[in-house]
C-alpha cells in the first residue's frame, strides 16, 4: 500500500538579492525514511532545510507536513526540529536545561520533564552530564546534546544540517553509525544535509543530489551510485571518471564509442541512439583494467603517478587528449612505472551513459 508522504515540497523557489538559490524544488519524503540532501556548498541544501523548518520563507511553493501546507506558519508551530550545524546550544543554560527547553516552553509537567530529559540524555549516552554547561563539553558531546534537545519533543521530521561537519574523521564515522541506529530505533523521519558522499551513502535510505538549486538526481544510494544520470552525479557521488566519445554502433548489450584516444564500451540505455552522436560515459576507477598490450577495444594513456590514499592506490593516467582518468586498486602493489604507456578497457556493464536528457 502506498503511504502518503509525511513531508512534501512543491515548486519551492528562493532567491537572495536577485540570485536564484532554489529553482523549483519538488521533493517527497516518506515517513520513517532517512533522506539525505547531498551537494557541494552553495547548492541550496541548507536553504531547503531552513524552509522546511520555517526559518526562511520561500519566494514560492508549498511545504506540506502530513498533507497540510505550513508555508505560512512560524517555526514554533511546525512539528519539525532542527539540529543546527553549529549545534546552537544555549550557552547560558546547562545541558539539562538545554534539553528541557522545548518541554518547558510547552509547559509540560515538572515530573514528566524530569523523566523525559533523563531518557533523552541516556539515549545519546550523555547521562550524568546534565549539570555541565555547553562550554565544558567536547564537540562530539555537544553534538549529542543537540540531538537529544531536538528529539525530546518527538518531532515528525528531524532536520540535520551537516551535524558531523565539525567532528574529526573517526568520531564522524562512529556518529554516522549511532545516528543511523538512533533513527531506526525511533522510526523518526530524518532529513539530513551533507556535502560528504560517503556519509550520504552510509546512512541514507534515499539520496537527493542537488546542484545549483535544482535536484540533479534522487534515489536509493545504490541507484545513484551505480546509475548516475548526469556526469555531475557520477563524479560527485561515485567519484567516477567521465569520458566522451561518438557512438559507433550498438551490438547487443554494449555501445561502442570512439574518441581520439581509442574505443570504449558502455551500457546502452532505453533512449534511442544515433550513430555519430556524442555521448558521455561514467566509469569508476576500480572497474578499469590496465595492461601493456592493446586489446581490440581500448584507450591509451600514460601513467602519471601513483599514490596511496584512503586505503587505496590511486593511479592517474593522462590520456592522449590531455584529460586525466583515475584508476583505483585495493592494496599497494602496482606493476606499472610512471611514464609508461598503458591501455585501458572495461566491460560495457561498468560504464553508464550520463547527461542524456541534457544533451537531447
Amino acid at each position: 500500500m502506498e503511504t502518503s508522504p509525511i513531508l512534501e515540497l512543491r515548486g519551492i523557489t528562493k532567491s537572495y538579492d536577485g540570485t536564484a538559490v532554489l529553482r523549483g524544488i519538488d521533493l517527497s519524503v516518506r515517513e520513517g525514511d532517512f533522506v539525505t540532501l547531498l551537494g557541494a556548498s552553495g547548492c541550496g541544501k541548507t536553504t531547503i532545510l531552513r524552509i522546511i523548518a520555517g526559518l526562511t520563507a520561500p519566494d514560492g511553493g508549498q511545504v506540506l507536513l502530513q498533507g497540510r501546507d505550513v508555508v505560512n506558519e512560524p517555526p514554533e508551530k511546525r512539528d519539525v526540529n532542527t539540529v543546527f550545524q553549529s549545534y546552537a546550544l544555549f550557552p547560558h543554560m546547562t545541558v539539562w536545561q538545554n534539553v528541557a527547553y522545548a518541554l518547558r516552553i510547552r509547559g509540560v509537567d515538572k515530573r514528566e520533564i524530569e523523566t523525559r530529559v533523563r531518557d533523552a540524555l541516556a539515549m545519546v549516552q550523555m547521562d550524568g552530564s546534565g549539570k555541565k554547561t555547553p562550554a565544558q563539553l567536547s564537540g562530539g558531546q555537544r553534538q549529542r546534546v543537540a540531538i537529544a534537545r531536538s528529539l525530546i519533543n518527538h518531532p515528525k521530521v528531524l532536520l540535520l544540517d551537516e551535524p558531523l561537519g565539525a567532528l574529526d574523521l573517526q568520531l564522524r564515522r562512529q556518529m554516522q553509525y549511532e545516528l543511523k541506529k538512533l533513527q531506526q530505533q525511533l522510526g523518526t523521519t530524518f532529513v539530513y544535509v551533507t556535502h560528504d558522499q560517503e556519509e550520504a551513502i552510509n546512512m541514507s535510505d534515499r539520496i537527493v543530489v542537488l546542484r545549483g538549486g535544482r535536484i540533479e538526481q534522487q534515489g536509493a544510494p545504490n541507484d545513484v551510485y551505480d546509475r548516475p544520470r548526469t556526469s555531475y552525479c557520477a563524479q560527485f557521488v561515485g567519484s567516477a571518471n567521465v569520458l566522451r566519445g561518438a557512438a559507433v554502433e550498438r551490438c547487443g548489450d554494449a555501445v561502442l564509442l570512439r574518441s581520439d584516444c581509442g574505443t570504449m564500451l558502455a551500457q546502452p540505455d532505453e533512449l534511442p541512439l544515433r550513430t555519430g552522436e556524442l555521448l558521455t560515459l561514467a566509469v569508476r576507477g576500480e572497474n578499469i583494467a590496465i595492461s601493456r598490450e592493446p586489446s581490440e577495444v581500448c584507450i591509451s594513456g600514460v601513467v602519471e603517478a601513483n599514490s596511496f590514499t584512503g586505503g587505496m592506490l590511486r593511479i592517474p593516467v593522462r590520456l592522449c587528449d590531455g584529460s586525466e582518468i583515475v584508476i583505483t586498486r585495493q592494496g599497494i602493489h602496482f606493476d606499472f612505472a610512471v611514464g609508461e604507456t598503458v591501455y585501458l578497457r572495461w566491460d560495457a556493464g561498468a560504464a553508464v551513459l550520463v547527461d542524456r536528457e541534457a544533451g537531447a
Binding site: L55, P74, P75, S86, F90, Y101, N153
Partner: protein, 283 residues
C-alpha cells in the same frame, strides 16, 4: 620569559596608578577626616564631624534627590537605549556605520555648548514651545526649563550614547542561530527574546545601567545649567563646598560617600551578572 622584562612593563603602570589615582584618592579619604578651619583651609586633626553633618536633612534630601534623578535617568536611558542598541546591532554593516557616526557627531562639540543648545530649545519662547503652540497642542508655553524634567532630559541626552553602545556591543556579539534554535524548539518570538536574547545581552544591559547611573549621580553641571540652581545634586554640592563654600573636608566626605555607594553598585553588578568586566568599556 625573563622576569626583569616583565617588570619593565609593569612598573610604570603601577607608578602611574599610585601617583595619579591611588594617591589623590587616599588624600581625599584623609581630608574627609580632617577639621575644617573657617575661611581658608583645614587642619590635620581627626574628626568625624564631616560625616556627622551628612545626617542634616538638607543633605540627606540632596542624596535622595540625586539618587531619584539618577534612577529616573537610567530607567529612561534603558527604555530608549536598549531598543535602539538592539536595532542598531541588527543593521547591516553600512547601517551600523551610519548610526555609529550619528551617535559620535555630538561628541565633536563641547558638552557645555550642547547643553546651552537645550536651553534654546526648551525656553519659554524656544523652538519646542513654538512648535507645540503652532501645532495647536498647547496654548501656553510649557515651563520646562529650570525644572526637574529639564534636568532629566539633559541627563538622558548626555548619557544615552553610553547605554546604546553598551547594549549594541552585546547585541553585536549575539549568535542569532540561538534565537532560531529557540523558535525551532517551540518558543514564540517574545518567549525566545526573553529566554535567549535578553539573557545573553544582559551583561551589556547591566554595564549600560552602570555607565549611565554612576555618572548621573555626579553630573552637577547639567543640573546647574538646566535646573537653574533649583535642583541641587550631590555633584553640585561637592563642587559648591569645594569652591564657594570653602569646606574641603566636607566636600571630601561627600565625595567619599558617593564613591562608596558607586563601588557597592559595581559589586552588586558583578554579583547579579556573574561577569567581572563591563561590556562596552573593556570590550
Amino acid at each position: 620569559m625573563r622576569k626583569e622584562k616583565w617588570w619593565l612593563c609593569v612598573v610604570p603602570l603601577y607608578a602611574f596608578t599610585l601617583v595619579f589615582v591611588l594617591g589623590p584618592a587616599l588624600y581625599m579619604v584623609a581630608v574627609s577626616f580632617a577639621q575644617n578651619t573657617a575661611g581658608t583651609g583645614f587642619r590635620w586633626a581627626f574628626t568625624l564631624e564631616n560625616f556627622a553633618r551628612l545626617r542634616d536633612p538638607v543633605y540627606l534630601r540632596c542624596f535622595r534627590e540625586s539618587f531619584r534623578l539618577a534612577l529616573a535617568a537610567t530607567a529612561l536611558n534603558l527604555l530608549i537605549g536598549y531598543p535602539f542598541g538592539y536595532c542598531m546591532g541588527r543593521l547591516g554593516a553600512r547601517g551600523k556605520r551610519i548610526v555609529m557616526f550619528l551617535i559620535m557627531v555630538p561628541f565633536w562639540t563641547s558638552s557645555l555648548i550642547r547643553l546651552y543648545g537645550w536651553i534654546i530649545l526648551l525656553q519659554a519662547k524656544g523652538a519646542l514651545n513654538s512648535a507645540l503652540i503652532r501645532l495647536g497642542l498647547i496654548d501656553e508655553p510649557l515651563k520646562i526649563l529650570y525644572s526637574y524634567p529639564a534636568v532629566l532630559i539633559g541627563m538622558v541626552y548626555a548619557l544615552l550614547p553610553f547605554m546604546i553602545l553598551a547594549v549594541y556591543t552585546s547585541v553585536e556579539k549575539m549568535d542569532w542561530t540561538l534565537v532560531e534554535a529557540a523558535r525551532d524548539l517551540g518558543a514564540s518570538p517574545a518567549r525566545a527574546f526573553l529566554t535567549v536574547t535578553l539573557r545573553l545581552t544582559l551583561p551589556g544591559l547591566m554595564s549600560g545601567v552602570i555607565l549611565t547611573f554612576v555618572p548621573s549621580m555626579g553630573l552637577f553641571f547639567i543640573a546647574d545649567i538646566l535646573g537653574g540652581n533649583k535642583i541641587v545634586l550631590v555633584g553640585s554640592l561637592i563642587q559648591d563646598q569645594m569652591t564657594r563654600g570653602g569646606n574641603q573636608p566636607f566636600a571630601a566626605a561627600l565625595a567619599l560617600v558617593l564613591a562608596v555607594m558607586t563601588t557597592l553598585l559595581l559589586w552588586l553588578y558583578r554579583r547579579l551578572t556573574g561577569t567581572s568586566e563591563l561590556e562596552g568599556m573593556f570590550g
